[in-house]
C-alpha cells in the first residue's frame, strides 16, 4: 500500500519538548482512513501524549495487527520502529519483542476484531504475563476494514446499517482484564481528547500491560441510528467514572501536595496518578469494587470511561522471568554463554 507523505509546512514557532522535538515530529504519514473516522482522533491524541511525555521516537516500537485501526501505526511517530503483524497476533509478537529488548516503549494499536474476535487468546495471555506494553483497542463494534460486519464487542440488540441485529453478548476487554489479573485498565472515547491524552500518558508509563479500550466510531459502517458505537450514542451514554491526572515524575514534588478527596497512586518511575471525583465505594486499586461498579453501570446502559483500574505493584514479565536489567539484545555473547567450564561447575553441584 503506497503511503502519502505529509507536505512540510514550516511552522517555526512550535514549542519544543524536553528532548527538543515539536509535536509534528511525532506525526507520521497522511492518514488514508475515511474522513471523520474515530481512529484518526486517537492518532492525534497519541501524537500529543508521546510529545508531552518527551519520548525519543527511536525508543518507541509501534506494533499492530490487521484492520483500519491497525493501519494507524503509520500515522504517528514516523521515525519510531514499526511492525505491522498479522491479524490478531500483535500481542504475542510484542511479547517476544519486549522479552528481547526491555528498553523500548511498546505501543500496540489494534481493533475490536483484531483483539476480541481472532486475537482474544493472544491478548489475554499478554495481559496475564504483564508484558510492558501499552495496548490500545480502537473499538468500533465492527470489522471496518472488511466492510462492517459485527465484531465481538458489538452490544446485544445493536443494529448494522442494513438492519441486522446482533444477538450475541459483547466481550468487554476491561471486564476480561479484571477477571484475569490485568494491571492497568482504562476506557476512553476518541472524541474526548481531554480525557484520552492523560489516559494514554499514564498507560505508557505503566510498568506492565496497560489496556486502553477507546470507543472509536466507524463513520462509514457503524455511526447510524441503532448503533451503540456511534458518536451520538457515546455522547449520550458516556459516564466518566474517574477523572485522573497524570503527574509526570519531574513535577511530582509540587503536584503531590495532598488535596481533599484525591486518591494518589504512585507509579514505579515516580510519576503519580491523582484520581478526582471517584464515585463512593469505588477504589481504582481494588479489583472487586471496580468489577462490581462496572457491571452495575453497564446494566444501567452506561459506557463508563476513565482509568478504571491500576495495580502498580504486580510483577511484570521481566520480574516474573527474573531476567537481567540489561535488555537481552545487549547482553554480550560471553555472558549469555559462559562456556563449558561454567557449565561443568554448575553440574558439579548435583554430582
Amino acid at each position: 500500500m503506497p503511503s502519502i507523505t505529509k507536505p512540510i509546512v514550516p511552522l517555526l514557532d512550535l514549542p519544543r519538548n524536553a528532548v527538543g522535538l515539536t509535536v509534528r515530529d511525532y506525526e507520521g504519514t497522511m492518514s488514508t482512513l475515511c474522513a471523520g473516522c474515530g481512529h484518526d482522533s486517537i492518532t492525534a491524541s497519541l501524537v500529543q501524549a508521546l510529545w508531552e511525555l518527551d519520548l525519543q521516537p527511536h525508543m518507541i516500537a509501534k506494533l499492530s495487527g490487521i484492520g483500519c485501526s491497525s493501519k494507524t501505526t503509520a500515522y504517528f511517530a514516523g521515525t519510531a520502529h514499526g511492525f505491522n503483524s498479522v491479524h490478531g497476533r500483535m500481542a504475542a509478537i510484542a511479547t517476544g519483542a519486549a522479552a528481547a529488548n526491555r528498553d523500548l516503549l511498546y505501543v500496540g494499536v489494534s481493533g475490536d476484531g483484531d483483539s476480541l474476535s481472532i486475537g482474544l487468546g493472544q491478548l489475554m495471555h499478554a495481559m496475564r504475563r504483564n508484558v510492558r506494553l501499552m495496548y490500545i483497542i480502537e473499538n468500533n463494534g465492527v470489522y471496518g476494514l472488511t466492510k462492517g460486519q459485527f465484531s465481538a464487542s458489538a452490544d446485544v440488540g445493536a443494529l448494522l446499517k442494513g438492519g441486522q441485529k446482533n444477538l450475541y453478548a459483547p466481550i468487554d476487554p476491561v471486564q476480561v482484564g479484571l477477571a484475569i489479573g490485568a494491571t492497568f485498565l482504562a476506557r476512553s472515547f476518541s472524541g474526548d481528547k481531554q480525557q484520552l491524552v492523560p489516559v494514554l500518558k499514564a498507560a505508557a508509563m505503566h510498568r506492565g500491560f496497560a489496556l486502553v479500550d477507546v470507543l472509536s466510531p466507524c463513520v462509514t459502517f457503524n455511526d447510524h441510528e441503532g448503533s451503540t458505537k456511534s458518536y451520538r450514542y457515546m455522547r449520550e451514554h458516556e459516564v466518566q467514572a474517574t477523572e485522573a491526572d497524570f503527574i509526570p515524575h519531574r513535577t511530582a514534588v509540587t503536584a503531590s501536595i495532598p488535596v481533599d478527596g484525591v486518591q494518589t497512586v504512585a507509579m514505579h518511575d515516580g510519576s503519580e496518578l491523582h484520581f478526582r471525583n471517584v464515585p463512593a465505594d469505588y477504589d481504582p486499586t481494588d479489583r472487586v469494587s471496580v468489577m462490581h461498579y462496572l457491571q452495575e453501570r453497564r446494566d444501567a446502559g452506561e459506557v463508563v470511561t476513565g482509568i478504571l483500574y491500576v495495580d502498580e505493584d504486580a510483577p511484570n514479565l521481566h520480574e516474573l522471568g527474573n531476567t537481567t536489567e540489561t535488555p537481552l539484545v545487549k547482553v554480550p555473547y560471553e555472558a549469555l554463554c559462559p562456556g563449558s567450564r561454567a557449565l561443568a561447575a554448575v553440574q558439579r553441584q548435583w554430582t
Binding site: P2, T29, T146, A152
Partner: protein, 418 residues
C-alpha cells in the same frame, strides 16, 4: 436463468441452491461478498433451514464446520489467504476424518509481505491436506463446480475446495446461468452421511491411532482420492446431461491435439491464454492449452494422455515453491514418461500482477523457439532485485519489502534509512 451478476453473488446463489444446513465463516477479502450474500439469504429465510454462524476466526470456522458435518449437516465455509493458513490444522482434521465439507477459496496471495491481491499461494499450500481441489476458469464454471463439489464430496465422504481467483472472478460481473432449484434438487440428492453423531447409535469420532494402523488410515485416504479420479468425471458427465453445460472434470484441452507447444494452467488465466493461442495460431504456430480443473487428486493419466505428443510444455502457474520453482510443473513432470516433452516453468501473476496477452505472446514465442530458461518469472523487474542485492551487502540493510517499495517510489524515503 441467465443474469448479469457478480462472481461472489453467483457462487453464493449456487451454494444456497445446494441447501447447506450449516455455514460458518469469518470475513476476509476477497471472500467476503460470498459469505455476506449467504448470511443475507439465511437472514431473509431465502435459504432455510440453515444456520449461519458468524465465528471469531477461520480456525473457528473450520472447527464449527467439522462439528456440523460430523453431526450430519451439509456444511459449507469459505476463506482466502491468511484465513486458510490460520485454519490449516482444522483443514487437515476435516479430511482426516473424512467429512464432506465444501469450502470456497477466493484465491489470494499470502504474506509476509501482506498483499490482498490474487495468486494461488493459499490453496497450493494446502494441496496435500487430503482435500480435493477444483479450480474454476470462469464464474459460470465456479457456479457449476460448486454444485458438483457437494455431490463429489458426499459420494466420497471427502472435503472439497473450490478455488476461484480472487477479484478476477469473485468481483467480476458477468452473465452467469443460475440453475433452478428443481434442477439442482434433482442433481444433488439429500446428504446421507457415511458417519454421523446419531443419538440412536452412539459412536465416537477422532480416535487416536498409533503405528499399528496409521499408515493404513492414510493409505485409505489416498485410495479414496484415487477413486475421485473416476467420480469427478462421472459427476461432470452427469452434470452435462442435467444442465447441458461442460464444466469441471479433470482436465480440458484447447486446440491441443495437434500442438507442439502446450500451455498448462489452472484458473481464470486460461481465458487470456486461450485468446493468446488464437492469435498465435493465426501466425501458424502450433500451440494449444490444457486446463487443469482438478488439481487434487492429480490427474496423472489425463495429463499424460493430453501432453504426451507435445514437444514442449509451458506451465504457467500463480504460485511459487520457494527453493525449487514450480508446484504445478513438478506435478505435470511426474505425469510424463520418456521420451518426455521439455517442461518450462513460468511463475506469473504473483500478488495480483496482471498477466497480459502481450507478455504471454512474447513468452510463448520464446518457448516455441526453446529460448526459455527452465524457470522463468514472468515480467520480473530484475533491476529492482539487483539493487536490493546491492543494498544487502551491508549487514543491516533492513527489511526487503520496505526497501523495494521505497526504491520503486511507492513509499517515501525514510529520513532515517535515507
Amino acid at each position: 436463468m441467465r443474469t448479469q451478476i457478480e462472481g461472489s453473488r453467483a457462487v453464493a446463489r449456487a451454494v444456497a441452491l445446494a441447501r447447506p444446513e450449516v455455514i460458518s465463516a469469518y470475513p476476509i477479502s476477497p471472500q467476503t461478498h460470498i459469505v455476506e450474500a449467504l448470511s443475507e439469504m439465511v437472514k431473509t429465510a431465502e435459504l432455510a433451514p440453515c444456520e449461519y454462524i458468524n465465528v471469531e476466526s477461520e480456525f473457528g470456522a473450520m472447527s464449527v464446520a467439522i462439528g456440523a458435518s460430523a453431526a450430519g449437516a451439509r456444511t459449507y465455509t469459505a476463506t482466502a489467504s491468511q484465513g486458510l493458513l490460520y485454519m490449516a490444522e482444522a483443514v487437515y482434521n476435516a479430511s482426516g476424518l473424512g467429512l464432506p465439507i465444501v469450502m470456497t477459496i477466493a484465491n489470494r496471495a499470502i504474506g509476509a509481505p501482506i498483499n490482498i491481491w490474487n495468486d494461488h499461494s493459499d490453496s497450493m499450500s494446502q494441496r496435500d491436506s487430503g482435500w480435493l481441489q477444483l479450480y474454476a476458469e470462469s464464474n459460470q464454471e465456479a457456479v457449476d463446480m460448486h454444485l458438483q463439489a457437494f455431490r463429489i464430496a458426499e459420494e466420497l465422504s471427502l472435503p472439497v475446495m473450490v478455488c476461484m481467483d480472487g477479484y478476477v472472478l469473485t468481483h467480476a460481473y458477468e452473465q452467469v446461468d443460475i440453475p433452478a432449484q428443481e434442477q439442482v434438487d434433482a442433481f444433488l440428492p439429500p446428504f446421507e452421511p457415511q458417519q454421523v453423531l446419531d443419538p440412536d447409535q452412539p459412536m465416537s469420532i477422532g480416535a487416536m491411532v498409533g503405528p499399528e494402523a496409521f499408515t493404513e488410515v492414510r493409505y485409505l485416504a489416498h485410495l479414496k482420492q484415487m477413486r475421485a479420479l473416476d467420480v469427478i468425471p462421472e459427476v461432470a458427465a452427469y452434470f452435462h446431461t442435467a444442465f447441458g453445460r461442460v464444466a469441471g472434470g479433470l482436465v480440458q484441452g484447447y486446440r491441443s491435439e495437434d500442438a507442439d507447444t502446450i500451455v498448462v494452467a489452472l484458473g481464470s488465466v486460461l481465458g487470456t491464454i486461450k485468446d493468446t493461442i488464437d492469435e498465435l495460431r493465426e501466425t501458424g504456430m502450433r500451440i494449444g492449452a490444457v486446463g487443469i480443473k482438478t488439481f487434487r487428486p492429480f490427474p496423472l493419466a489425463g495429463i499424460h494422455a493430453m501432453l504426451g505428443h507435445a514437444r514442449r510444455v509451458v506451465v504457467v502457474e500463480r504460485a511459487v515453491a520457494i527453493g525449487i520453482g514450480g508446484i504445478v510443473a513438478l506435478n505435470v513432470r511426474s505425469a510424463l514418461t520418456d521420451p518426455a516433452p521439455r517442461v518450462y516453468t513460468v511463475v506469473a501473476g504473483l500478488g495480483g500482477r496482471a498477466i497480459t496477452t502481450a507478455s504471454l505472446r512474447a513468452l510463448f514465442r520464446d518457448a516455441a523457439a526453446d529460448r526459455l530458461q527452465p524457470l522463468t518469472f514472468l515480467d520480473l523487474n530484475t533491476a529492482l532485485v539487483e539493487r536490493e542485492l546491492q543494498r544487502m551487502q551491508r549487514r543491516r540493510s533492513g527489511p526487503h519489502a520496505e526497501n523495494m517499495l521505497r526504491d520503486v517510489g511507492a513509499i517515501a524515503a525514510s529520513p532515517v534509512l535515507g
